[in-house]
Symmetry: C2
Subunit: 576 residues, 2 copies
């Protein structure tokens, strides 16, 4: 029985941290060795972290990456390893090294370079052209990278035709909700179409606006999910692959060698014999089966936000964060996420009440801080606000109070949080949600001031889902029910409600999704059944707020299209 | 004698302004008709403006663009027109329409899509494959787009081989200093190599971070510059092209048909006869020759900043701007540029002195405002600052004054400017230079708060060049000499000088250029002769300030690599 023990190291790398990444890789190599793994895989660009962006233009960055690869090779005795790195051969390539027992035996260059959404890979890499198959201990192994596996009749098919029984796909596939199921179906189809085992090794961890969710998966040649890595956590996924089953299935599959072999001629596939030693897996202690857990909405989104926040804070060298607590739902969910990411002792909440803050809001904020066991400061803004008004009075004479005075309050709060940040080294987390970012219902340099915008890509209606989820997980009102139940308000003028300015969020959010994420025109959205007035207003607000978004802090992408790298609109733009 | 009268309409379009752009195009068509132009050209994507970025994903944007093209076609009677638009045939293409006498007779698809620097064209467009040549009144005309002409043996060569005597290159080529000379030499070489007349029609105008400088050029078949459009201004460049000379030169050029014809087989080139009517240019009143003016440094940079500022302000619907005047050189040059862009009556200067402001600084700011004839306000910040300190005193007890208190002053100024902006609709121009943006020597939400960062890409040493230039142009100390002569200071603590924190700018700027624009490593820069300590410090400052730059307002690119779209570095980054 031909059986191969694979280990997929689903690790959390940091961009540019060659020492740290290499250290972690060597650690997993040692673990894999103790588990008698034959073939150990790592994610896409594991050596340098993903995505390295314009660091790839720095020659020393490429050199360091090659040096780290050499170190990994030197520690590979007795193992076969697949690992992502940047290859430099005339041009640079998003590459995968095949290392066998102390030697680099093959390099694969990613063929399909994504250049849409958050991806800019055409900016950096030359595309590969070759789909080799490596014969390792008598087993045919094809290697490809991330995007390559998304194409029907792509590199995997060429590799299958050229003798690959196992296809290793190393990835750095950013999370957004709904992607997991889609990816799972795609991989299952790719496995059964090519009658090959597919081992998809994903990255985990947060990198600026992106969260990689892990959930590495192996499918058998019939498309059945064999095992799955944990989501949002590091993991070493080990499985014994039954390669003989691939042979048997192909023998009885009428499509095999007919359709498949024709499609497979697209890329150049050569066969390289790496080792002919026999595998002796049968004597190894067997791997206990895993439970194939799936998270699902909204818990999955919540976990993505926790991981994204933790990694942004820690990878940037911070320990503690500070959050302005208004007693509203947005700042409450951000504080809760921060506590889950960093621990209560690393989160500081600050209430900054004004004359327009209701006594309930202050009480609600205090109760939340108590529930979360976080340090809680109160800094009233009234005196500073009054002083500003006095200083500006002469210049403002003859004018009426308007959005100026509202923004001023938000900006005083921003300044106070930044002062605490500067004085104590706490990172400011901002609390604006996607509905606000979309419509510009936020004050630049005010509530938008801070280092990281945790729920920037979470529509307001989903904020409520997350709060409900977290409370039910706690089995109590961690976020006080009063906060969840009250109508949203910025409390910047007497009796203010969000609905004074915006349509109700249940109405607004689907319009925003259609307009921002799906590029539907106002006409099309109206045709979906929404009122013309509401749609036109929402579209206008989105269009004219681009300048604010351009100056907003980064935040975690959890939808198919986030603001930021994912959506690149001009500020100067007369298209309506 | 075969002669063709060409008109190159070097127009200032606005992204997404289909009505406005079409109106302008029809206007130039009328002008060209009155000048008896045979062939009228417009810039790349003139119909929709450049670069439209993710607006290209909106189906209605593409439709509007096709509708506008139709309108242009309807107004083309008696003329041949080349104009940039977005073609939609299955996929979308960066395209050029050839319109003849009321009909669309050909479409060229850009072959080389730039996907580096500020460009993301692979994100949007499919590349073209065909290089047709159009026979217009017996003259062979090849059309290609911007990047296409930068390649030796590219589309122009195929077109020349397939019978093109005139190559029209429609462009949207963003300005940076030094590019003009390089482009002129490249175009001259392309013309003489292909023994063809080259007519390069560039765009002018500002679009967010980019300025297009016009300077459209025509070269004869020997590579001699025949005529040139104005720089930083709209223009209609008209010239009579001697096509017979192309024929004669080719006849006597030994390389022609040998080397050229071999290289020219790369793309598919077909010949399309558009019209066979004879041109009767000899009866037209002749075009008076133009003076071929060249601007040169630093006047050219100054003009780029003026145009970029004017267009950002006006195209975004503002009339007036407000600038914090510190009495320093940066805010002084920004105010001067703003006055040149918008007129004195549209610029407001605000002095916001603190206890650390020297009496000279306030006087200098006031004198500058007087010289520029701009409205001048004074709003001291001391009282607001004191109130903040009182409110924070309890929380800060046991700590020493540090950068917190300095940032607070900068942020109070930011708030005051934003309050004026909110109340009166004035756009805030920020005054930070590139040396500060690079090293993070600026306060987020403080002096970085504003809508547009005029000199964001101008190194400090170049700010002095610009001030000297503008004063010599005025023939007097428009910017008071005291401002130019004093050592730079942020005046945020007693006796503060920039050199307390940063190396002298004459030392710092070349290091920053090497590190930021040329991707040299610290080691390489030290090897250039700079002190290790200074280089390491500068590199560290650049690396750790990415988070600030990510939240900075857009500013005008004038160097080969600006911060912004041009340089995409991760914030989370441990590479040193």
């Amino acid at each position: 029985m031909r059986q191969m023990r694979i280990g997929m190291a689903q690790i959390n790398t940091t961009v540019g941290d060659f020492a740290g990444n290499t250290h972690k890789i060597l650690d997993y190599i040692a673990q894999a060795r103790s588990l008698e793994v034959d073939l150990l895989t790592f994610p896409e660009l594991a050596i340098c972290g993903y995505p390295p962006e314009d660091l790839l233009f720095k020659p020393r960055f490429i050199e360091q990456n090659l040096k780290s690869l050499k170190e990994v090779i030197e520690h590979s005795n007795g193992l076969t390893i697949v690992i992502g790195f940047v290859d430099a051969e005339g041009d640079i390539y998003n590459a995968s090294a095949l290392i066998h027992d102390g030697k680099l035996v093959g390099v694969y260059h990613k063929i399909y370079l994504p250049n849409y959404g958050v991806f800019d890979e055409d900016r950096y890499f030359r595309a590969g052209k070759n789909c080799s198959v490596y014969v390792i201990a008598g087993v045919g192994v094809g290697i490809n990278i991330c995007e390559d596996i998304w194409y029907e009749n792509g590199p995997a098919t060429t590799q299958a035709c050229s003798g690959a029984e196992i296809i290793v796909n190393i990835s750095a596939s950013p999370y957004h909700f709904g992607k997991g199921d889609f990816k799972e179906r795609m991989l299952a189809t790719r496995a059964s179409d090519n009658v090959a085992i597919i081992a998809h090794n994903n990255l985990i961890g947060g990198q600026d606006e992106l969260v990689f969710d892990g959930g590495s998966m192996i499918f058998d040649e019939k498309g059945k999910l064999i095992t799955k890595g944990r989501q949002f956590e590091e993991d070493l996924v080990v499985a014994d692959l039954d390669v003989d089953a691939v042979f048997r299935t192909r023998l009885h599959d009428p499509r095999w060698r007919k359709e498949i072999m024709i499609e497979g001629q697209r890329w150049q596939g050569t066969k390289v014999v790496v080792s002919s030693q026999t595998l002796s897996n049968s004597q190894k202690p067997s791997i206990p089966p895993r439970q194939l857990q799936t998270r699902g909405f909204p818990g999955e989104v919540y976990d993505a936000l926790v991981l994204g926040t933790r990694d942004y804070v820690k990878k940037n060298g911070f320990e503690k964060v500070v959050i302005g607590l208004s007693g509203g739902i947005d700042s409450s969910i951000v504080a809760t996420i921060a506590v889950d990411a960093l621990g209560s002792s690393n989160v500081v909440g600050v209430a900054m009440p004004s004359g327009y803050s209701s006594p309930e809001s202050i009480k609600d904020a205090e109760l939340l801080a108590y529930n979360l066991r976080i340090k809680f400061l109160t800094i009233p803004i009234g005196k500073v606000f009054q002083t500003y008004l006095e200083v500006l009075a002469g210049h403002f004479s003859g004018t009426e109070p308007d959005v100026t005075e509202e923004n001023l309050q938000a900006r005083i709060r921003g300044n106070l949080l930044m002062a605490l940040s500067n004085k104590f080294g706490w990172l400011v987390l901002t609390t604006g949600n996607k509905s606000e970012m979309a419509t510009g219902y936020a004050t630049l340099y005010g509530d938008m001031a801070g280092g990281f915008a945790v729920i920037k890509d979470v529509p307001k209606t989903m904020v409520y889902d997350l709060a409900g989820y977290r409370n039910s997980l706690a089995g109590l009102d961690l976020i006080p029910s009063a906060i969840i139940d009250k109508p949203p308000s910025a409390e910047l003028r007497p009796e203010q409600k969000d609905t004074d300015t915006l349509p109700p969020y249940e109405l607004l959010d689907p319009i925003l999704t259609a307009y921002v994420e799906e590029d539907r025109s106002a006409e099309q959205i109206i045709a979906m059944g929404f009122s013309e007035e509401v749609v036109e207003r929402a579209a206008r607000l989105v269009d004219k707020s681009e300048y604010k978004r351009r100056q907003s802090p980064p935040g975690i992408k959890i939808t198919p299209r986030a603001f930021g790298r994912d959506r690149r609109l001009p500020i100067t733009n007369r298209f309506r």
